[in-house]
């Protein structure tokens, strides 16, 4: 029987749009309205219905997979729990397990996420949220990337609005693309800058704002006169917003460029209102950060030691732990995107993958799990770090959630002595 569902939340990028209309036909799901390319593709994945579990590449009963996973994790000296997509419930179970076995917890997107976290820890920031941008912004500066490649409906949801709370006939805010070329369908001004030189550009804007005269004609290949004009435009904005996706800042010490951006925003608030809008949240990276931080007190890249959680973003990064062969077991969770794959490593690997993910050759254990927002209700954090979006169950498939598998693994661990 075919059924139409309205106002469904989409878990497949950090915008967490919650206005989708879905058609559910038995177990087939399709996006009828308010989708994007990614949501259409991800909602329509139709997994095998039977519960699936593989041990050493061969199909096995679920109990056997759970027991094997528990035995691998219990005997590991330094297990790594690497998240590539799970919701709040999944993260809560990840952390219960990590605390129990002394694991490191990291996210596959942490390289990007931690650029922002480091800025938060060094200088802080002034930021805003999607509904504020939608209703207040009169200037939107896109720093580094074009935003919509990673967050397809950003402009549709927050920029192209003809009517806002404070202006019934508003023009869309002025868009300035600082870095890459704007997409063809978007009307915006483009100031070409090599992303890796944005740090210098923001430093120059800050210096100009402070009244300094620059002993140069160009900074990052942008004429100083153009920079002065850009700064003036930013200072004239009533409510300016600068948007960045840390994933676009992929160069050494990119956090310093983001820091410079954030300090500029802080300073612009001495005369007008100006805010940052960090874009992220895809694959539950902000969700992982939030739950980790409230339960442990510290962000990802933390190890649960005998004395408590030890946060060290360098020592406990996935890249280093795997590169230096320090981790001796890997648990990888990707419950949102069937195309994600764990890093290829020689240590025993347990994979909790969204049902429909192909069986992997090198995993010791692989278990198919439910997708929050399709098979199960749940929560994911939106890009702005504020709104925990309610995910609904839209189809009745008999798939275990990642959190349920993790709880079963914890239940199979040897008795704990106090």
């Amino acid at each position: 029987m075919s059924q139409l569902l309205g106002n469904v939340s989409c878990p497949f990028c950090g915008l967490l749009c919650d206005d989708l209309q879905l058609r559910v036909d038995d177990e087939a799901v399709s996006v009828e309205a308010n989708g994007c390319e990614r949501s259409r593709a991800q909602f329509s994945v139709r997994p095998p219905t039977a519960p699936a579990c593989w041990v050493d590449g061969a199909q096995a009963p679920l109990e056997e997979g759970v027991a094997r996973a528990a035995s691998i994790l219990a005997s590991a000296r330094l297990p790594l729990l690497l998240i590539a997509g799970t919701d709040v419930a999944g993260m809560r179970s990840v952390l219960e397990l990590a605390d129990r076995i002394g694991a490191v917890v990291d996210h596959a997107a942490s390289d990007s996420l931690m650029r922002n976290v480091q800025v938060l820890q060094n200088t802080g920031w002034v930021t805003t949220t999607l509904s504020e941008v939608r209703n207040r912004a009169d200037l939107v500066v896109l720093a580094g990337g074009d935003a919509v490649s990673r967050f397809p409906r950003l402009f549709e949801r927050c920029v192209d609005n003809t009517s806002t709370l404070f202006d019934a006939t508003r023009q869309s805010p002025e868009l300035i693309f600082l870095g890459r070329q704007p997409p063809t369908h978007v009307a915006g001004r483009h100031i070409p800058v090599d992303v890796s030189r944005l740090s210098s550009l923001f430093a120059a804007l800050r210096a100009l704002r402070g009244g300094a005269r620059l002993d140069a004609d160009k900074v990052a290949d942008v004429a100083v006169s153009d920079l002065s004009a850009l700064l003036a435009r930013m200072q004239q904005a009533r409510y300016g917003v600068i948007v960045w996706s840390a994933a676009d800042f992929a160069f050494p010490h990119a956090e310093l460029a983001i820091q410079s951006l954030c300090e500029l925003v802080q300073e612009l608030n001495s005369t007008t209102r100006f805010c940052g809008l960090p874009l992220g949240g895809t694959d539950g990276d902000i969700t992982a950060h939030q739950v980790m931080t409230w339960q442990a007190g510290v962000p990802l890249r933390t190890r649960f030691t005998r004395t408590g959680p030890e946060y060290d973003p360098h020592r406990y990064s996935t890249q280093r732990l795997l590169g230096d062969a320090e981790a001796d077991a890997l648990l990888y969770i990707a419950a949102l995107d069937t195309t994600h794959r764990p890093p290829a490593v020689r240590i025993p690997t347990i994979v909790l993958g969204r049902a429909g993910m192909a069986p992997l050759q090198h995993s010791a254990v692989q278990i198919a799990v439910a997708t929050p927002g399709i098979d199960q209700a749940g929560h994911l954090y939106r890009t702005d770090n504020v709104v925990a979006v309610r995910l609904r169950k839209v189809v009745a498939r008999q798939l275990p959630g990642a959190h349920e598998i993790l709880s079963r693994i914890v239940g199979c661990l040897p008795q704990e002595r106090n």
Binding site: R136, G297, V298
Partner: protein, 553 residues
């Protein structure tokens, strides 16, 4: 059955002041003394010990977005304050911004059995409830923020019928699973988004043209008519501004005689006298509270040391960001709904202003006559982390100790304060009022904060030590719903707490304009705003306890 035997009972809700009697517990409740031939009880010999109901913190920032920003931005607060896991309890960390598990355990170890998050943004309510769901043992509840949200300001600007405002307030309480309503810097957070930097009680807010006074009047009226037990919880205008004592008095009067609770009033009790143009307004504030029976306040005491301030008041926090220590800070504008600001802060006893803030808080505690109308808080973590409560109790109960501390602060601050001349010492009975009986009463929790048969068996047993700080830091026994959860400051069992809420009746036709409003202007659809009971359990609440409202319409 449990028998708590031979202790001195401090149960101010029933006028019991140190009387020796036994307390009996069965199935999580306090019960009357059983017949002499009843089956043998588990006995706890508490001879010579002091027995009180579980303590209630009616204003502590334990859950929600800004607290988590504070945690994330301060790894230095967590590096040397780790809490190890045990077979019973989870690991954690943090002093000023503790992790949820650590906060729940520590509260329980100190004899607290209920904690109320005072600043739950409707747009961030799910996070607040999820963090509270991961705060073990203690019961929780939250006050939803209104008064800077565009929908209400728009209603007031359009001179809406008070019945519409009332329906909107009731809808918000239900949709967010809140126990009460708080307003932070009425209209000021919104004004900051329009680039205003201050908003006095009778100034008109940009765009809407309404005054903070009219916001306070509308919200106190709505809550009064809905019969919500907790009065409007007010973080007044001009937080931290020298001379704000005038706007604080104006805020009290904006309630027009209806119940109003002024929170962390210490931060709103500043004058402008003296060489430094910063002086204590405590005497005027205390006098005003004493004279107005409709006013209650919690203090928001400052204690010296490193902490972090986390507030919904983005306007004040932006202003205070220049004092950030360490030098980093966050401000956010949030969903045409609210805002927040997180500014780390170190209160120093040799800093004139900080030292005077400390003295002003204590002056207020000691100059307000009625312990039923002043509550013990540090506005955790804004004045100090809640772990400082035992120290604060000692400052109130022990004049010699207080005077010794007074002698150590900045001498000009000590000289500018009347604290040294105040002889009052709080009694155990008065402490039991301000930390148990009174908060239960003002929150409408009928079966908490007292020890009569029928009450929830949230019971704390203290060794009656002369060092009140040591006494209150590590009670002998803490029972939560009849279960022994902590003994001499150690967790011995871990339980999950319930969530206190109210569900006032209202006319559902308010949902039509709200649906249109959310679906047209917001980025969350109306259907996805409310949190239902099932979702609360998913968030981690054991159960929802609905406190009755006595509507007045």
């Amino acid at each position: 059955m449990i028998r708590i035997k031979g202790g001195k009972i401090y149960d101010p809700a029933h006028g019991v002041d140190g009387e020796i009697r036994d307390v009996y517990v069965q199935d999580g409740r306090i019960v009357a003394a059983p017949a002499p031939d009843a089956p043998a009880a588990i006995e706890y010999d508490c001879s010579g010990m002091a027995i009180m109901a579980g303590a209630i913190d009616l204003h502590t920032h334990i859950g929600g977005g800004k607290v988590n920003i504070a945690r994330a931005m301060l790894p230095e607060d967590h590096r040397y304050t780790r809490r190890a896991r045990t077979a019973l309890s989870r690991s954690g960390s943090g002093h000023a911004a503790p992790s949820t598990f650590a906060a729940g355990y520590r509260y329980a170890e100190m004899g607290y059995t209920a904690c109320f998050e005072p600043a739950m943004l409707p747009s961030n309510a799910r996070q607040a409830h999820m963090e509270m769901g991961d705060t073990p043992i203690v019961d929780k509840g939250a006050y939803a923020l209104l008064g800077n949200d565009d929908f209400l300001l728009r209603l007031l600007a359009g001179k809406a019928d008070p019945a519409i405002v009332r329906d909107y307030v009731a809808w918000t309480l239900r949709a967010t699973q809140a126990l009460g309503i708080k307003v932070v810097n009425p209209g000021g957070i919104s004004a900051f988004k329009f680039n205003a930097r201050k908003l006095d009680v009778d100034e008109t807010a940009p765009y809407y043209g309404v005054t903070p006074r009219s916001i306070l009047a509308a919200l106190t009226q709505a809550l009064h008519e809905l019969g919500v037990p907790h009065p409007l919880h007010v973080h007044a205008s001009n937080l931290g501004v020298p001379g704000n004592v005038d706007s604080t008095l104006a805020t009290m009067d904006a309630a027009e005689g209806r119940p109003i609770h002024l929170t962390h009033i210490q931060f709103h009790s500043y004058g402008t006298e003296g060489d430094r143009k910063f002086s204590s307004g405590a005497a005027r504030i205390a006098e005003a509270i004493n004279a107005r029976r409709n006013v209650t306040a919690d203090v928001g005491q400052v204690l010296f040391g490193q902490t972090v301030t986390a507030s919904g008041d983005s306007m004040a926090q932006y202003r205070n960001s220049r004092h950030a220590h360490p030098n980093k800070w966050v401000c956010m504008d949030i969903e045409c709904d609210a805002g927040c600001g997180v500014v780390p802060f170190r209160y120093r006893d040799q800093n004139f202003v900080n030292a005077l803030q400390w003295a002003i808080g204590l002056e207020i505690f000691l100059l307000v006559d009625d312990p039923w109308r002043v509550f013990l808080t540090t506005d955790h973590p804004n004045g100090a982390p809640f772990t400082g409560y035992p120290h604060l109790v000692r400052l109130l109960m022990d004049r010699t100790f207080r005077d010794e501390r007074l002698a150590q602060i900045h001498p000009d601050a000590a000289a500018a304060s009347t604290l040294g001349s105040i002889r009052r010492e709080y009694s155990l009975y008065e402490i039991a009022i301000m930390t148990r009986a009174a908060p239960a009463r003002i929150l409408g929790l009928r079966d908490r904060g007292h020890l009569a048969p029928g009450a929830a068996a949230d019971i704390v047993v203290y060794s009656d030590r002369p060092d009140r700080e040591a006494m209150f830091a590590r009670p002998e026994y803490v029972f939560k719903d009849g279960r022994l959860v902590a003994q001499r400051g150690q967790i011995v069992a871990v339980t999950r707490g319930a969530t206190h809420t109210v569900k006032p009746e209202f006319d559902r036709s308010i949902e039509r304009p709200l649906r249109d409003y959310f679906d047209r202007y917001h980025t969350v659809a109306f259907d996805n705003v409310p949190i239902d009971a099932g979702e609360m359990v998913e968030c981690g609440s054991r159960e929802i306890l609905v406190q009755p409202c006595a509507g007045r319409t």
